[in-house]
Subunit: 391 residues, 2 copies
Amino acid sequence: MNNFTYYTPTKVVFGRGSEGQTGALVRERGCKKVLLHYGGGSAVRSGLLDRVKDSLREAGLEWTELGGALPNPRLSLVREGVDLCRREGVDFLLAVGGGSVIDSAKAMAYGVAEEGDVWDLYCGKRQARAALPVGAVLTIAAAGSEMSDSSVITNEDGWIKRGYSSDLCRPVFAVMNPELTMTLPVYQTACGCTDILMHTMERYFHPEAGMALTDSLAEALMRTVMESARVLTKEPENYEARAEVMWAGSLSHNGLTGCGAGGDWMTHKLEHELGGLYDVAHGAGLAAVWGSWARYVYRFCPERFARFAVHVLGLPAGADAEETALRGIGAMEDFYRELGMPTSLRELGVAPTEAELALLARKCAAACRGGGGAVRRLEEADLAAIYRMAL
Amino acid sequence: MNNFTYYTPTKVVFGRGSEGQTGALVRERGCKKVLLHYGGGSAVRSGLLDRVKDSLREAGLEWTELGGALPNPRLSLVREGVDLCRREGVDFLLAVGGGSVIDSAKAMAYGVAEEGDVWDLYCGKRQARAALPVGAVLTIAAAGSEMSDSSVITNEDGWIKRGYSSDLCRPVFAVMNPELTMTLPVYQTACGCTDILMHTMERYFHPEAGMALTDSLAEALMRTVMESARVLTKEPENYEARAEVMWAGSLSHNGLTGCGAGGDWMTHKLEHELGGLYDVAHGAGLAAVWGSWARYVYRFCPERFARFAVHVLGLPAGADAEETALRGIGAMEDFYRELGMPTSLRELGVAPTEAELALLARKCAAACRGGGGAVRRLEEADLAAIYRMAL
């Protein structure tokens, strides 16, 4: 069991109508001028943005707006937002949207609070020492950014996708109304559920002895997400299932399911390069490569993969851990297929050339400073092999 | 499913040697003068207090000391602490001990920050609007006060035990080294495990449809605590089991296991009166009355009691929910006996007279403003019947 720090200061206000409390939550922080940051038009069309503005108005707050955050949020918009915040004297960043919008707002929060290029943080040149407070009104259950310390930004110059983590940018509040996620298309919902599962799976797969409590909480969470994801493929407006998935999304990435344990994170690293190069949906990219990663590494901790098969997927334990592990990997891929998720790059709609395969592996290794992973340290040749297995 | 707010800002620093970070954690808050509050001599004898002082010294902090906090912490010491803090210009309350010491420090934190008698909060006369920051170095896994919003104080004038809850006094940090709990006697360890289980059981038993994720997390936590409690009866110095119980103690009372669900809390109310009148160990008092409470109310939500029997105690589900529920209650009492916990007032060492029984019920009803409970609203006559069943 490892020592750990657990820090989740985000105030979660969860349930129907909770967006009406947004203004009061900003005011609690003593802030006055908000940047209202959002993505495409759905928050406008649904009337959500107007309800949030009403709430800010009632709380006596001023705001300025910046829309246009894209999936795999772009550095150029972050820089535009930083300039806007400085010009307008913004002291609070309010993200209305999913993980991309929140990540974009987090990057702006760093950028406004300190001199220097914000990309320096993401490419590892320096550490952040300050950030404006960030709040979130969540509309997509997936990334867990509403309680996490991390954000991921794509630099269009080279299409480099990099993450940065610091407690400074954990949102001060997260408003979560499951009703706001009901209009999300089935494919996006499935992508979200995959991302949520992967945030716990990345923490769950490690070769060391972890913590029994963390393992059992993680397994409970994964089982609940899988059940609710199945419900949502048939009943996208099921409030209960939407709520389970939304809350699981936050708990899956706020640190809870990794306390005292390790963490692998190579599936995310593999996907980040796909997302940077092809702009695929993050959850779908994860599903497309996970099985290949798992088959490449399971031999290095077969007992844990076997435990996953039994405690999460409900398979009978076999006499041989490796055999149980392999059945578990297959069953997880079946589950992804059931949700309509890809389990290969071809199904993801991506057909890398030989040169692109090599580029993906090289960029991924570079992003891990040569290699990474807890189940098994993976270097450029391993990463190339996994991308190839995933074709 | 109910709407909910989840707010756990406490920074948890968990593991071996973590007490060495105490001073740095206080300094992070920008505070300068600490009240070092503790209980009896064990923190002194073990050398813990000296290590904490070293850490404060290294961080350049000043401190003043106040020991003597008792189980069922007393209002008179709280008042003494408030006077001391004002006299010495204390701006941070550091509790080194278990729940009683932390609760005592929380009450002082309210008392120092505002004019007026701090007991007014506990007897419901007013709400707190400010509190000094509180930090904890935990030495007993039980009360969950290190992450909770609540504290319980006993007023010696009438031996009235009352709780008060507010986010203002959630500790800003909790230092948790499982090694610090290893010398706790077997009986106190069992009391702690009982208290931890009860914090989740109070939230788990409710008649409404709750949240599947919350239920499954709660069940995972209860199973882990029961397993670890059994290990600790035989191996009190098992680090892994001490760590599981310690972390479960925090998660059991920080709100996580109640999200979207209800909560009953009548076992705690019943015990509070026992604790106020007889000064019994809190965990033992809970074990002594829980079975009687459960047998009195299970008919009003037999399905939930049956679910508890199956998912927590591992019993086979019977055709009849009431029958499964009763088997579960019996199995839980067997578990308490296995830990050496009482399952009646007699076993608790308490033999109330008729007049005392009436007094307990009257005080308990008064503490709930006439009645309380979610599984079944209980009034004075019900409470008297439960105390009598528990004899």
